[in-house]
């Protein structure tokens, strides 16, 4: 065999983006049948029941919080931020992978994004919903949240526009809105497909109403594609700005462990890291239960694992630099903060974070065998999410708990209500996600048809 031939077999050994043998019709029927024809699976009911129960736990915990105030949580001075901010940063970070897949990979013309972008965008939307809730609950009087918005009030006062907390309001609400628009625009042609394929009247009317009379006109497609591309171009810098602004919540303060210039890039990398882990956590069971292995192939899983590896390395670099700068800066407070992080009362949390974020995934993912092992990837994705949650815990809690004067030192222990709200937010996320996979196409049908067309052209 010639060297040329050898190279070719190596390339062909990579799993395809789309399993062979699919046509426009087979893809349309397969994806739309999950929503329209198939009976609701027993597994769906089970998962939904669990998610909905957790969601009810959230309602209960929030109801009690409204009644009693934030004193039911473990927060106090010096650790005023606690779980609420940890969960906020964690959820908003998870959302970032969805936008990155749908926007950034579109700009880069990556064909493998087509089958994962829809549910990744849905994930973004629901993660932002879970995230946005926490700062509001943490305010103590959530019903006065509109004080954060600039509106002409009777006292003539305005929000403090120089504060990163106000930037956050704008960043997160813009992010939520743009994600919703992006998701809905992407859904439009698929809603028309569902309208045309639905056999019962209620589904026809509902999907017909949402599809707004989309008829696939060439002129419409032209404007549609342009709008979609522009939205992708807008969403890509937006996603970077959102987590940068979230990191400003920390870095603009003078607290040792927060006041660092490496935070914005390392927060963005961490967000993508945890987000891709979440996409894997969702994609692996989805493709299994709904038989979507043809569309979400090993190629997708492997590519996502590679992104995990790359962003994980950036995060690791962030940790190394943080530690190095604490010593190199010569600042007593910085040095004692990092030593306390590694050896103090929260040291087990710190080392668990290093294990979950660095030691396990960044050694395992180098192996192509593991990157193509579905079960191993699923476990790694869960470990990374745990690690990233612990990272935010470490940043928030260990930086605050030893104030400048030993007399002001304290410890933070989460209460049952902290845990209930956290578990409940997972319930909210999963409830929305279960409803999404039942009522909307979880894979973009029209983009998959485009992919079939592209594959055909390449062959011809």
């Amino acid at each position: 065999m010639s060297p040329d031939g050898l190279e070719k077999t190596a390339v062909e050994a990579r799993p395809p983006v789309l399993a062979p043998g699919h046509t426009y019709a087979s893809i349309t029927d397969k994806i739309s049948s999950i929503v329209l024809l198939q009976k609701t699976k027993r597994g769906w009911w089970f998962g939904f029941a669990v998610a909905f129960t957790l969601f009810m736990v959230l309602n209960f915990a929030v109801g009690y919080l409204m009644l009693m105030g934030v004193g039911i949580w473990g927060i106090n001075i010096p650790i005023a931020w606690g779980f609420a901010i940890v969960n906020f940063v964690w959820w908003i970070g998870i959302g970032h992978a969805g936008t990155l897949i749908s926007a950034f990979l579109l700009l880069m013309r990556q064909a493998w994004r087509q089958s994962i972008n829809r549910f990744a965008e849905a994930m973004t939307l629901f993660a932002v919903a879970s995230a946005g809730m926490f700062p509001l609950l943490h305010m103590g009087r959530p019903w006065l949240f509109y004080w954060l918005m600039p509106y002409p009030d009777t006292m003539g006062t305005w929000p403090q526009f120089r504060s990163p907390l106000v930037w956050d309001v704008f960043a997160v609400s813009t992010y939520g809105t743009i994600s919703l628009l992006f998701w809905f625009v992407g859904l439009l042609p698929d809603l028309a497909t569902l309208r045309d394929r639905a056999s019962n009247r209620l589904a026809q009317i509902t999907y017909g109403f949402l599809a707004m009379g989309w008829r696939g006109s060439a002129r419409h497609w032209q404007r549609y594609e342009m709008a979609y591309l522009l939205l992708a171009g807008l969403a890509t810098p937006l996603v970077v700005s959102v987590h940068t602004v979230v990191s400003f919540d920390f870095t603009i303060a003078v607290v040792p462990g927060w006041h660092s210039t490496i935070f914005p890039p390392y927060f963005v990398a961490g967000a993508i890291y945890s987000g891709f882990a979440m996409v894997l956590t969702l994609a692996i069971p989805l493709r299994q239960f709904y038989g979507l292995e043809d569309f979400i192939t090993l190629r997708h899983l492997e590519n996502m694992a590679k992104i995990l590896l790359a962003t994980g390395l950036i995060v690791a670099y962030g940790y190394v630099m943080e530690t190095f700068m604490a010593f190199y800066s010569g600042s007593t407070y910085d040095r004692s903060m990092i030593m306390n992080r590694m050896t103090g009362p929260y040291a087990p949390v710190y080392w668990l974070l290093i294990t979950g974020n660095i030691a396990i995934p960044l050694t395992a993912l180098w192996s192509a065998k593991i990157r193509r092992n579905v079960a191993a990837l699923f476990v790694i994705s869960l470990i990374v999410q745990m690690g990233m949650w612990l990272e935010r815990f470490v940043i928030v809690v260990t930086s605050l708990h030893r104030d400048f004067m030993p007399s002001a030192w304290g410890m933070y222990y989460p209460t049952i209500w902290d845990w209930a709200t956290f578990a409940g937010s997972i319930g909210l996320f999963l409830t929305l996600f279960f409803l999404f996979i039942r009522f909307l196409p979880m894979i973009s049908i029209f983009e998959m048809r485009g992919l079939v067309h592209q594959v055909k052209e390449e062959k011809a």
């Binding site: 600039p150 526009f161 497909t193 045309d196 060439a218 419409h220 549609y224």
Partner: protein, 178 residues
């Protein structure tokens, strides 16, 4: 304008190549009022039916500029005129701190303008449209490709146009009522 009893003639094709070829030939034959319907965006189709320019990018730019200037003014006015406060001796117009919100609002307005501009230019929502009456048009969102020549086209002739479309490898040509 008088309501024409016939909206147009709809030809159904099996492949994108047939449709593209038909659209180009129809344009070359002098037809201008026509539209094609496909289950996914087909490259070059809009150009083939003689549609080149889209105003969506301009709308996006205008939206972005409004958001950008509005966002900066939103912070500049209260801090300099509305309720100036001296905080740590910082200048009233401390513009670097105003950049994040300016950026976010620019993106927000540009995004809203793009989506609503695209929908408005496409005249969506349009719950009813005559082309939905074409037989098997529900396949336009599955695996068939359609070309419609409007009856108001100056070269339209029910008989001749039908023969022309049939000569283009169309699977079927049908009349659509308006």
């Amino acid at each position: 304008m008088m309501r024409h009893p016939l909206y147009g003639l709809m030809a159904e094709f099996e492949t994108t190549d047939d449709l593209l070829n038909a659209a180009q030939r129809a344009h070359a034959a002098g037809y201008r009022r026509m539209d094609a319907f496909t289950p996914f965006p087909v490259e070059g189709l809009a150009e083939a039916i003689g549609y080149h320019k889209t105003h969506v990018p301009l709308i996006c730019l205008v939206g972005g500029l409004i958001g950008c200037m509005g966002g900066f003014f939103l912070q500049y006015w209260p801090n300099v005129f509305g309720y100036p406060l001296n905080i740590g001796g910082k200048p009233y117009n401390s513009w670097p701190s105003f950049i994040p919100i300016t950026f976010e609002l620019a993106v927000l307005c540009a995004g809203l303008a793009t989506v609503f501009g695209m929908l408005a230019l496409n005249r969506l929502p349009t719950p009813y449209h005559p082309v939905f009456n074409a037989p098997r048009f529900e396949l336009a969102t599955r695996n068939r490709f359609f070309l419609c020549i409007n009856a108001r086209d100056s070269r339209f002739d029910a008989q001749k146009t039908r023969e022309f479309l049939q000569s283009l490898n169309a699977r079927e040509v049908s009349e659509i009522e308006s």
